[in-house]
């Protein structure tokens, strides 16, 4: 608890730098990453991130120490060069983009590790901590670097505001953008450069290995929650910054652990949750929908069975008998537990009313029961009239469909078949 209070009260001034840094870095990467995601260029982020390592090392060798600006410039240059190489390989050979990304990514990363080892063995006095660039050490962010990260965020924000329409147009339909005379190549170059910039800003806090997650994952998670691009951008930023700060906190309280993995772990949990619980398309929604359908089918089937019970005794006109579950089981096979549950629900919903020795239909229940039977039989007649189907099979075909036919479709069926009331013929 004490560490948590220390963390949020900025007792350690470094904590504030970390939080500010995370806000800038994660916002930059989530914003520009959304467009990379929409352009199906997510993997490019991976190539860029891994290609930053040799740049960092070259920057270090050039400067002789760990001044961020040199490392950053080196990283930006090799990161950018890697995207150029990927495009070059794709355009000039039969190699497809996924393979080209794999080739470039591994070559650059290998080169980076070679350089890193060289630096460690070459007796540079202040190379300690260069390892941190692999998996990130957010605690190492200092004041000057915050200015750099804020500047990058500003550049990306301004670019998105100014080029919003162009970015959308090219992400959705680049050929159309070109057809209205937009300088598509130039704007794509700008988007790629901004992606490199955002990725490079994260080398210190998150490390080159996992930085690509911050390009792809926030957009992917945000997509589950909205159909609007503007909202997707905001949600992506919120997810990413939240993960950044939580990840930095965990890494702060466990001093030996790098920041990158924690941030990405938190982000992954958010993505997984989004995938599971988000509206309409998530797993949870699908599960709930399936459950709801099951209950609906059970209830409607019970009401239908009550109708059938009466019909067999020539009582379809009044439907007034008091019934027990056993009576229903004489008409149709049920799982008794399910049947009891369904009857209870129907009583609660006012379709059935409990009597001394069982239950009977309410007025609403009668209407509902007749409706289901009617839909079932209308659909049977429709299938027999419009398609080639054996009369033996038409009943099972109508069993599920009766539950989803809407009142509009009911009217259309009625009109098409010219049937009023409940058809007496059952199949």
């Amino acid at each position: 608890m004490q560490t948590f209070l220390d963390f949020i009260s900025f007792k350690d001034p470094n904590v504030m730098y970390v939080i500010l840094g995370m806000i800038c870095i994660n916002s930059s990467s989530a914003l520009i990453g959304t467009f990379a995601f929409l352009r199906k260029r997510s993997l490019i982020g991976d190539a860029i991130a891994h290609s930053l390592l040799p740049g960092i090392c070259l920057g270090f060798i050039a400067a002789g120490d760990k001044r961020m600006i040199f490392l950053f410039l080196g990283a930006f240059l090799t990161g950018w060069f890697s995207t150029f190489l990927v495009d070059y390989i794709v355009n000039r050979s039969k190699i497809k983009q996924d393979a080209a990304i794999g080739i470039v990514l591994s070559s650059f990363f290998a080169l980076g590790i070679v350089l890193l080892t060289y630096i460690q063995n070459a007796g540079y006095t202040n190379q300690g901590g260069l390892n941190g660039f692999l998996f990130g050490q957010a605690a190492a962010i200092n004041r000057d670097e915050i200015y750099l990260f804020a500047l990058i965020l500003l550049i990306i924000l301004v670019a998105i505001l100014v080029f919003y329409r162009s970015f959308i147009l090219i992400s959705f339909n680049a050929e159309f953008a070109q057809s209205i005379g937009l300088p598509v190549r130039w704007i794509e170059f700008l988007m790629t450069s901004l992606t490199v910039l955002a990725t490079a800003s994260g080398i210190q806090a998150l490390g080159v290995v996992l930085m690509s997650a911050l390009i792809v994952t926030p957009a992917a998670a945000a997509r589950f929650w909205t159909h609007k691009l503007s909202r997707m951008l905001v949600i992506g930023v919120v997810f990413s910054v939240f993960s950044g700060i939580v990840g930095a906190y965990i890494s702060y309280t466990h001093a030996a652990t790098p920041t990158g993995p924690w941030v990405v772990a938190v982000l992954s949990v958010i993505t997984l949750l989004s995938f599971t619980v988000s509206t309409k398309s998530g797993i949870l929604a699908n599960f709930l929908r399936a459950r709801k359908n099951k209950i609906k089918i059970l209830q409607e089937t019970i009401l239908k069975t009550i109708f059938h019970y009466h019909e067999r005794r020539g009582l379809a006109q009044n439907l007034d008998s008091v019934l027990t579950p056993t009576d229903l089981l004489s008409v149709r096979v049920y799982d008794t537990y399910q049947l009891q549950k369904g009857i209870k629900r129907l009583i609660r919903l006012g379709f059935l009313v409990a009597k001394e020795k069982g239950f009977t239909l309410t007025e609403n229940g009668k209407i509902e029961g007749r409706r289901i039977v009617r839909l079932h039989r209308l659909w049977e007649h429709y299938l027999l009239k419009r398609t080639t189907i054996d009369a033996l099979h038409v009943h099972s075909g109508a069993e599920a469909i009766e539950h989803i036919l809407s009142p509009e479709i009911e009217k259309e069926l009625e009109r098409e078949l010219g049937i009023v009331g409940i058809p007496t013929k059952d199949f």
């Binding site: 080029f163 329409r165 162009s166 050929e175 070109q178 209205i180």
Partner: protein, 263 residues
């Protein structure tokens, strides 16, 4: 009197990986007609449209539109790509996509004005999607998505429309409503160039036809083009020699014409 010429394609050759996809195509298309481009699969129909629109570079020859270069008259041309060429899961509504039809090179930084808004709503109305204006495009049927593309083209207020297979994946009712719209546009003097694959409907839909198979097989009115000889030439596998020569060119990376030959 000679009819005004909307599109002049002069000795156009476009290559892909060294092999000619379009080879010495040369024709002039009259303005104010619905013109069909037909030909078998892989005959270069889409390539032709893209080369006219400047999306693919021509290796030789040129295209003139109303006697002008493309750059001078780009704002008068509307291009409708194949529906399958984009990802319809993109986070945008019908309105957002049709609004793209109002984007111009020089207004991309401006806010939408009232005229734009009116034109967009009108275009959506014309294709009968007003009810779905705010719907996410992923939730539309194939036919509705195609109509979104048509509405975007209408919003461009162009004089020439280049459409790549607008009737693919569209139900019969939608096909007829699109065709009705195109005829209205033609009656307003617009030129519509359409890639079409269904030979059954060709003579009903088009006033003028271009029959392609890498080379220009025939052009003219449907009666002139749809002769048995032309169709056999285009579809009947009679052009194997042409394909063999194209392949030779590709394998040897051979130039398609000698440098100084006068066009």
């Amino acid at each position: 009197m000679r009819e005004a010429c909307a599109i002049e394609v002069h000795n156009l050759t476009t290559t892909y990986g060294g092999a000619p996809v379009l080879w010495d195509i040369d024709f002039e298309l009259p303005a104010g007609h619905i013109i069909g481009i037909i030909g078998p699969n892989g005959s270069g129909k889409t390539t032709l449209l893209k080369t006219i629109m400047g999306l693919l570079p021509a290796s030789s020859g040129y295209v003139k539109i109303f006697d002008k270069d493309l750059e001078q008259i780009r704002h008068k041309i509307s291009y409708v790509p194949q529906r399958e060429s984009v990802d319809w899961d993109f986070p945008a509504s019908v309105f957002d996509i049709v609004m793209m039809g109002r984007y111009r090179k020089n207004n991309l930084f401006k806010r939408t004005n009232k005229t734009d808004l009116e034109i967009v709503l009108q275009s959506i109305e014309k294709v009968g999607l007003t009810k779905y204006k705010d719907r996410q495009i992923a939730q539309l049927s194939g036919g509705q998505q195609q109509r979104v593309f048509i509405a975007r083209a209408l919003a461009q207020k162009a004089d020439i429309y280049l459409m790549d297979e607008p009737f693919v994946g569209v139900d019969a009712a939608t096909e007829h409503s699109i065709l009705k719209l195109l005829k209205e546009m033609r009656d307003l003097g617009k030129t519509v160039l359409i890639i079409h694959h269904d030979l059954q409907t060709v003579s009903d839909y088009f006033d003028y036809l271009v029959l392609l198979n890498t080379r220009l097989i025939a052009k003219g009115t449907p009666q002139e083009v749809l002769t048995e000889e032309n169709l056999t030439n285009a579809y009947g596998g009679q052009l194997t020699l042409l394909a063999k020569v194209a392949n030779l060119i590709k394998v040897n990376q051979f130039p398609i014409r000698e440098k100084d030959v006068d066009l």
